[in-house]
């Protein structure tokens, strides 16, 4: 199923953001609850997933404390490398997201390959992979292996710009969109997480159509 991340409308009331997103494709999408929105009730009855630090009781809640996991949900970021002790290893039973240099896990091709060797479930963010490629830390062989990896729990989609995680809108040539569409067709949850604050209604619908053609 295609999920729309609440972060598309970060800063708005949770309930307002949820309503605005769901109205873009009612009955055809779910919501990924992400941090960054003002607490308010979400009354929609639709499929829900939760992501890194979401809480209905604050803008966000802490996820890691010196490498110890404090939060539970469907997927999460690894901690920053500077925040964990040397030799830190992630817990086994969580779905971690592929990140980029600066993180303690899944920050480069070697770490992604290790995670696949360990047969971990992964959340694959195609924009973050693009950033790894820009930094020259993701070998093509590892990227190809990841695209064919069976334990992909979620796919996160937006456009990045060089080293910058800008959560920009998808364009026809945005890398990973086609792969995400294929994963969606096989039942893998795909999360659209481009910022929509400055997009028109038509542009928002176009973003959905990139992944969920009529």
């Amino acid at each position: 199923m295609l999920y729309l991340a609440l972060s598309c409308y970060q800063g708005r009331r949770m309930g307002d953001a949820a309503e605005a997103l769901y109205s873009l494709a009612p009955g055809r999408v779910g919501l990924q609850l992400t941090p960054g929105c003002a607490p308010s009730p979400i009354t929609l009855d639709c499929p829900i997933r939760t992501h890194h630090g979401y809480t209905p009781h604050a803008l966000r809640t802490r996820v890691w404390d010196c490498g110890a996991l404090l939060w539970s949900g469907d997927s999460l970021h690894p901690p920053l490398a500077r925040d964990v002790p040397e030799g830190w290893q992630p817990p086994d039973d969580v779905v971690l997201e592929t990140m980029y240099p600066g993180y303690a896990a899944l920050a480069n091709g070697d770490q992604i390959a290790q995670a696949m060797d360990e047969w971990r479930w992964l959340a694959v963010d195609v924009a973050h992979l693009d950033i790894q490629t820009h930094h020259g830390v993701l070998a093509e062989s590892v990227r190809q292996r990841l695209l064919e990896y069976e334990r992909v729990a979620e796919v996160h989609v937006s456009a990045s710009h060089e080293h910058r995680d800008t959560h920009s809108k998808l364009l026809t040539h945005t890398w990973g969109t086609e792969w995400a569409r294929a994963k969606l067709a096989t039942g893998t949850p795909v999360i659209l997480e481009c910022y929509m604050h400055h997009l028109s209604h038509e542009e928002c619908q176009e973003q959905i159509a990139f992944l969920l053609p009529d």
Partner: protein, 385 residues
């Protein structure tokens, strides 16, 4: 001119609602009694309040208003006869006041109290007036235009709250801050059921779910931050650099996977009537291209880029992932991102400061975030007392 002459004018003005005529009559009287600057200020602000002004006319009036405030604001505040920490003027008269001491007994019966009669907002935060003080205020204060009253941190109990509920001189009161007092259910009920005024906002410091502060607590904490942390620094710049005319606090909130929900703050100082963000780069240091400071060569050692001052560099504590979130996120525009170039791409002005010592808090862009609980909770500190 006697205090009672002045008081009669002020009370007539206070009951005149939107009619500027009593104010202009008073201005004529001031002219005739040796106070032409005050008279001109009243006429200038009344003119600014009128509709249909051309942009050029409005701008020239604004400039004259600022010049008069720069020259006389402090003296006018001192003339009130009671200690004023902050004052804003509308149509020539005080519209909002913060007093720094509780008035002495008998003040509210004196002619000097008429200076309060035009006030719509009165900040008496933390003055420890106690029940006796508030009872005196309730019995004698005549503030026909007062809509918002800040009485938090005053040692008030049910006795004082019940006395306030009987105040006959506050008919327009609709918003009252009473947190950090010892008011219980009896006092609360008395205020809620008062037939002397109708409170739409009675703030006892009870945050909504998901929020660190109530709206009143946030408001007070923000004012306190400005008064105690930021204003002294900005006044220092105005003193050191005589060409500077204005400054603004700009805020941005943007997220990346690393940045949490940080709210970032910058101060832009300017020789202009009001600062502009065009041409200001937060991380640049090319002052030559910055329209805010064409003639002000900074020699500060702290980091800044052109007219853009780093808060931490200037010694202003700005806890961007904690306290700044509930206090300032509401003023930041949405859709910001960390990869901006010019400061105007993601920052918006939140507060304007002027050489005369006054400041204006601008309207919130995202009021839903006012007081919101951040990741670390934004713990309540002394600012919200």
């Amino acid at each position: 001119m006697t205090a009672s002459d002045e008081a009669n004018f002020l009370r007539a003005i206070a009951t005149g609602d939107q009619d500027s005529l009593p104010r202009l009559v008073h201005a004529d009287w001031l002219d005739e009694h040796g106070n032409p600057a005050r008279a001109e200020f009243i006429r200038t602000q009344c003119a600014l309040a009128s509709e249909g002004l051309s942009a050029e006319r409005r701008q020239s009036l604004r400039i004259r208003e600022r010049e008069l405030l720069d020259q006389h604001r402090q003296a006018w505040c001192e003339a009130f006869g009671f200690p004023v920490e902050d004052a804003q003027f509308e149509r020539g008269y005080p519209e909002s006041l913060r007093q720094s001491e509780w008035p002495s007994r008998g003040f509210f019966e004196s002619p000097a109290s008429a200076y309060l009669s035009t006030v719509t907002e009165l900040d008496l935060t933390g003055l420890r007036c106690g029940d006796a003080g508030i009872a005196d205020f309730a019995e004698h204060a005549r503030l026909p235009r007062l809509r918002k009253l800040l009485l938090n941190g005053n040692g008030i109990t049910d006795t004082g709250a019940s006395a306030l509920a009987q105040a006959s001189g506050l008919p327009a009161l609709e918003s009252l801050y009473l947190f950090h007092n010892a008011v219980g259910s009896a006092g609360r009920t008395a205020l809620e059921n008062s037939d002397r005024f109708r409170l739409g906002n009675l703030d006892f410091g009870e945050p909504a779910a998901g929020y660190s502060f109530s709206p009143g607590q946030t408001d007070v904490a923000r004012r306190e931050f400005l008064r105690t942390r930021l204003l002294p620094v900005i006044r220092g710049y105005f003193t050191k650099y005589p060409r500077l005319q204005s400054a603004m606090l700009c805020v941005a909130q943007y997220w990346s996977d690393e940045a949490d929900d940080a709210v970032h703050g910058r101060v832009v100082v300017s020789e202009l009537f009001e600062p502009t963000m065009e041409g200001v780069e937060a991380y640049g240091d090319d002052a030559a291209r910055d329209p805010n400071i064409p003639n002000t060569p900074f020699k500060e050692s702290e980091y800044h880029g052109g007219s853009c001052i780093s808060l931490w560099g200037a010694g202003v504590p700005w806890d961007e992932n904690n306290r700044a979130v509930p206090l300032w996120a509401a003023f930041a525009p949405e859709g910001g991102h960390q990869e901006y170039g010019a400061i105007s791409e993601v920052y918006a002005p939140a507060v304007m400061f002027y050489r005369h010592g006054g400041y204006t808090i601008l309207p919130m862009l995202r009021p839903q975030l006012d007081g919101v609980r951040s990741e670390w909770g934004g713990e309540l500190g002394e600012e919200a007392e």
